[in-house]
């Protein structure tokens, strides 16, 4: 029965593309267009998910990376183009932002480390972003950059182990999984420092 799912899924995606891009063409406001770009990304990911094998997962992960970096870049360009400033007045404060960050960040980071790899990096980064967002930040960016650089080098070294010492493949998997976790977490956690009350990156 799963053979029928692919053509049905393709028809659904085709309909979604037509509706989504009609909305995009009719839209005049730039920020609304950015939001609809996010919708187009979701539709594209459905198209990849329909492939339904490990290949789909391998394609979705880089798709997500490109999606988030594209969104970051486009929103920065939009803010710079419109000359938008940080809102003045007292910062937005709610009770849960004072009490939750510690435990929530701990749970997310612990689960991220358990998952390891790119997925773990993204989950752990959400915890770190939430913590930075709520508690503020005073860390040294040079340190994060250095750690991220070393993680990158370890990741490459793991690939050399796969190539030249294939009998130690498990060691290579562990190295690559841990290194990409640190790399993704370090990079994505910088998003959390974009909130007011610190150097605006």
């Amino acid at each position: 029965m799963m053979e029928l799912a692919y053509p049905v899924g393709l028809i659904v995606v085709a309909a979604a593309i037509i509706i989504g891009f009609t909305a995009l063409v009719r839209e005049k406001d730039d920020l609304h267009r950015i939001l609809l770009t996010d919708l187009a990304e979701v539709i594209g990911l459905v198209l990849i998910a329909l492939v339904a094998t490990d290949l789909a997962e391998a394609l979705i992960l880089p798709g997500l990376v490109v999606g988030i970096s594209e969104l970051l870049a486009v929103s920065e360009v939009y803010i710079a183009k419109e000359g938008l400033r940080e809102p003045t007045g007292p910062a937005f404060r709610i009770e849960v932002m004072d009490s939750a960050p510690g435990i929530l960040a701990l749970v997310l980071v612990a689960y991220g480390v358990f998952l390891s790899g790119f997925t773990g990096g993204a989950i752990a980064a959400v915890g770190v972003v939430f913590y930075f967002m709520c508690r503020g930040h005073a860390e040294q960016f040079e340190l994060i950059e250095t750690v991220s650089g070393y993680a990158w080098a370890i990741w490459i070294a793991a690939f050399f182990i796969f190539m030249f010492l294939p009998q130690y493949w498990f060691f290579g998997v562990m190295m690559a999984g841990g290194a990409i976790l640190v790399k993704v977490m370090a990079k994505m956690s910088l998003v959390g420092t974009m909130r007011r009350g610190g150097p605006d990156v």
């Binding site: 979604a16 009609t22 920020l31 998910a49 329909l50 789909a56 809102p87 790119f118 997925t119």
Partner: protein, 79 residues
Amino acid sequence: MTPEFILGCIILIIGVIAAGFPREKTYLSRLINLEIPAFGLLLIMLAYDEMLALLTFIGVTAISTFVLVRAIERREAAE
């Protein structure tokens, strides 16, 4: 065709209409409506057992929502 897949397709179409043509055309309502097609995508991924993609998508969506809210916040403050 599993129930998750059929439900995911239905929610995807509903969500694309809701996010493309929201009743109240504000930034926040459109941002909230964007969660509906994302949920359809999650159900379709669930139907195909794509666990890694599913978890990563949840993580990245949380970060992208933060980025979008930051842009919306500044836009609303400018008006």
